[in-house]
Symmetry: C2
Subunit: 136 residues, 2 copies
């Protein structure tokens, strides 16, 4: 969905991210690409949250058309499709890190490695560069 569509709601920056990420599933795909080194359709399906196949297909297509992810053919296996983050997708990292901090603070069930939390508060820049470097 874009601001040009018939579903246009406002010019607000908060609203803009909601138009792309305002559901229960889309950001989980970004998470899997960004932090869990997943890149195949079948890998996204295996996440704990158990996304259904039609919703996954729908969200992958929407993320691609909004320029957050891109598709590529797996050069090793032509029946496989490789998904990856674009620069626009990688730029979501600061948002993801703030979300992680907030959840760590307010949800005692949230499971984030303690050294990641510590690095985040003491050396945020290197957390960012290390995370991005793994995305090649």
């Amino acid at each position: 969905m874009t601001h040009n569509s018939e579903n246009f709601r406002s010019n607000c920056p908060i609203n803009f991210v909601l138009e792309t990420f305002g559901d229960k599933w889309t950001l989980l795909i970004v998470r899997d690409l960004m932090f869990k080194s997943k890149q195949y359709y079948g890998e996204f399906l295996k996440s704990n949250e158990k996304i259904s196949t039609n919703i996954l297909a729908d969200r992958l297509q929407k993320l691609e058309s909004s320029g957050v992810i891109k598709k590529a053919m797996d050069t090793q296996n032509k029946s496989k499709v490789l998904y990856s983050l674009t620069d626009k997708g990688k730029d979501l990292l600061p948002i993801m890190l703030e979300i992680t901090s907030w959840s760590h603070k307010y949800d005692d069930k949230t499971n984030v490695p303690e050294n990641f939390i510590k690095a985040l508060s003491t050396n945020r820049a290197s957390v960012i560069s290390q995370t991005l470097s793994k995305l090649k």
Copy 2:
């Protein structure tokens, strides 16, 4: 929704915020409280995105039960209800600011004052303290 409910999906921090904010409306209420000095039901209804009354009532109740906002009686007018952010809600500010930066970068229709964007990149701490100070 909490991690104890029957809808539990995972212990992931990204999933945790999606359980509360994973829809098209909830975060707009937080935005209105945080940046637009709104505090009444009728004020939220007037936002550009045009939330419907039943959805607004539902989201206000969910935000209250998740501890992000709190209700109070208006001391001037007993027929009015005052909504405000809790500390947990105010702690969403860094997330909101990162969202604002991302949308400003990737959506040319997004309308954020240029001096706010500039302050955000050069003096983030003071943007935070000034925003919070207006929330009393």
